[in-house]
Symmetry: C2
Subunit: 493 residues, 2 copies
């Protein structure tokens, strides 16, 4: 067994440590020598690229176009939207100078005090301000609307405690920013995008999510409504995996973006913004993986099938290579990404453990003796089940198996999630049970006080008012006051 794998902490021993180790051992990412920042390694980046590619197509199908806006935001822009500055301006990287100079001892560089900026610039924590400052010049008439822009970029929020993919000072994301002529259209777009995120999470990541709307406290700074998708990790904690914000006319007013409507009257433009980030990598890893390493959904796996030969001597190896190349070629024709690993400097056992660690969905072992009988050993990563199957039609078999794995890991995650959702009407019981994780559907009186009390006493937060459950009025489990509906409460990442 490979050393890396043997050392992987078990989930049952320490879930958090298991995650931290797995990200590094599976070559996904590592801590950079810059506080709170990460290096995304090629294997991790290949998964992120697949996510980007699929999401990008989904966005474009709804008319969204990509663009690029500046990294740096003048400090004064942040102050223009009152709530937004409270939420974002505080912990951020500030550029104050534009030049270094050689130091007096000529062995290093120092900031040149003569090169101080008149106005400090902020590295974007999110781009509403710089984008709406730009939209001001693009929008004159209702005919210029809607504007549907998205950008893939890096952003920076100065985080004190960081974890790879889940919370880093710099991260990669996409941020969509749309401008509309009517409130209805903007609200429709906000909902459309959260549905796209949910579809992506469930169909490609195989991660079941609960869609809902955030409480006022948990809303995006500057939004009238924030929609969210919440996923459940294997420790029962929630991970907010994507958000879509209805921003009303807040940014339109803050940046004076007015247009002439069909009645030729000036009106402020309506806004939405929506984003998902490299945090999705964390959700993907924590939902499916096990004590042997990553489990990747075939739809996002950089390598879907690995083929490993077991043979001795040139004659056997030539025979195995020939057979393997023909399978590889046929799989590629079916659009399946496949790696044939006949490197002779690693033992098969090492390779097995390594590809398990990396979460390759299907492993084929080509043995010389099996092959004589027209058989090949196939293993599926999700269940670790091995089978001996006929080599005739193996390509079609693999194609179906990949589909089956995609469905199976979704179902497994869904069953787990559903069996850890509880209705709860008793606060004492809630306080006890929430320690073990899970999603709790509880009545809430809608006040900030109750929300704060729950958070303080249990570290759990109101994740959202979920859309998927039938709702009836009731009684708040904390205050005893009337409640309109149940909200989803959980401890969260």
């Amino acid at each position: 067994m490979a050393k890396e794998l043997k050392d992987l902490t078990k989930r049952s021993v320490n879930y958090s440590q298991w995650y931290n180790e797995l990200v590094v051992k599976a070559d996904l990412a590592e801590q950079a020598d810059v506080r709170g920042c990460m290096v995304i390694k090629p294997y991790g980046y290949a998964i992120w690229e697949k996510m980007q590619h699929i999401l990008d197509n989904m966005f474009k199908e709804t008319g969204v176009q990509n663009a690029y806006f500046p990294l740096l935001i003048p400090k004064s822009f942040l102050s223009k939207e009152a709530e937004h500055v409270e939420g974002f301006a505080k912990e951020c990287a500030v550029v104050t100078h534009y030049r270094l100079k050689t130091n007096e001892t000529h062995d290093g560089v120092v900031v040149d005090p003569a090169a101080k900026l008149e106005e400090e610039l902020i590295i974007r924590p999110t781009s509403e301000t710089i984008i709406w400052n730009t939209y001001k010049n693009w929008i004159k008439s209702y005919r210029d609307l809607p504007i549907l822009c998205n950008q893939w970029c890096n952003v920076m929020r100065w985080e004190m405690r960081t974890r790879l993919f889940l919370r880093t000072s710099e991260f990669l994301w996409q941020e969509g920013h749309t401008a509309h002529a009517t409130r209805e259209e903007a609200e429709e777009r906000t909902k459309q995008m959260i549905k796209i995120y949910a579809k992506f999470a469930e169909e490609y990541m195989a991660v079941p999510v609960i869609q809902g709307v955030k409480s006022e406290t948990e809303r995006f700074a500057g939004a009238l409504d924030t929609y969210t998708i919440e996923a459940m990790m294997q420790d029962g904690k929630a991970l907010q995996s994507g958000t879509s914000h209805f921003l009303g006319q807040n940014f339109g007013k803050a940046f004076d973006v007015q247009f002439l409507n069909k009645e030729n009257k000036p009106e402020y433009a309506w806004a939405t913004s929506w984003g998902v980030s490299t945090r999705l990598m964390g959700a993907l890893i924590m939902t499916h993986s096990d004590d042997n390493g990553l489990v990747l959904p075939p739809a996002l796996a950089p390598i879907q099938v690995v083929i490993i030969p077991i043979g001795k001597g040139d004659e056997q190896m030539n025979m195995l290579n020939e057979k393997a190349y023909s399978i590889v070629e046929n799989l590629k024709k079916l659009g399946i990404s496949v790696k044939y690993d006949n490197a002779d400097n690693k033992r098969p056992g090492f390779k097995f453990a390594d590809y398990e660690l990396k979460g390759v969905p299907v492993r084929l072992v080509l043995g010389a003796r099996d092959l004589e009988q027209g058989l090949v050993e196939i293993m599926r990563r999700d269940t670790l089940e091995k089978e001996s199957v006929s080599i005739d039609g193996i390509e079609e078999y693999i194609k179906n198996l990949l589909d089956d794995i995609q469905k199976n890991i979704f179902k497994k995650a869904l069953d787990f999630r559903n069996s850890h959702i509880y209705e709860c009407d008793n606060y004492e019981e809630f306080k006890e049970r929430v320690k073990d994780g899970g999603f709790f559907l509880c009545h809430w009186d809608g006040t900030e006080e109750t929300e704060a009390k729950i958070k303080e006493e249990t570290q759990a937060t109101i994740r959202c008012v979920p859309f998927m459950f039938e709702q009836t009025p009731g009684v708040d489990m904390v205050s005893g006051k009337p409640s309109k509906c149940r909200v989803l409460i959980a401890r969260a990442y």
Copy 2:
């Protein structure tokens, strides 16, 4: 004629102004309200995305993988490679603080002096330092080599005089960084990448380039050799369009990246880096476009074909729409991107001018009367020639026409370039002629003094020692000293 087009300055009047106006009027990019930064608008970004997609595949075919490294670089990293810090550390954005706070009058934010960083961070001007600091942990043995990483990202260099795409403080690019076990392999990779850039420029951008090696003065800071591709713009000036650097062991030594070679002896790793940026957009625009607007090569045009109907009344329009949709569908099947513009709030004349301005390679006009005769009007953007052709087999006709346009604009640019390359052995003659632009092949004695004199007296620089011309020794036109070969001299962007 559309107002935007009517206002476009002619190239013959002011080439520089023509370019500046065209970038904005064709909706490619605009100046941001942040000093020296640009907003890349959706139409411009769509071209950049096509470039990225093609280049990315070309890189991957050679074994390169994408990854992501931090935006911010600790100041001390820059000092580790002596030449590199001279070249890059000086004009850059410096992050000194990580927090803002509300000001005393509660109407804005100020930098929180308590949140001063112990060590300042630099926004990457290029990533050799942070990447080699990372490679240190990845490279232990020759078995870990080569490492072939690339990243697509934003970088920042504080420029005093900026022009959209050509020179901006923030720009987008890719930077490849490879590590090798031998000098030979690293040198081979350096050359391989400049050849890929040349192939991309010529086959996709239809921009002919001259490959060569830079003089010592013009080398990348920290490189032993810098290879370049140089393109000629319509004003005869050179535009450096891509570079590939052989970095020797400079960064291996600076960041102590040692590996055990096959003989089990420690050795410093060998490095290359190579990049192209959004500057390519400038090269693309300035090579092909004309007084009517953009001319885009079909291989990079976001819209390859536009179809415009001319008809009156519902009955005619229904007939035209029906015909158009069938052509659109057939073109899409051939992998051709097509837009059918039957918007009724713009006159056909406005549409014609607008799509010319945007450089759409082929325009189809569907007229009701033509259609009765089975004919359609087709215009090619490169020559502005119109033809009436049979609607039967129009899709195949368009496919061939697109190929022909791609070849034709390359040939046009190549003929122009070749007719503006001059051998010159007389410095007085050179000084006079270089004012009108063009590439000059001149003997050079190889000294910095001569290079500096030419630059000072003529604003022309040694672009490279070109590979494509047969070389014989001669006499330096300035100093009269012996010269090993002719170099390419030109005024440049």
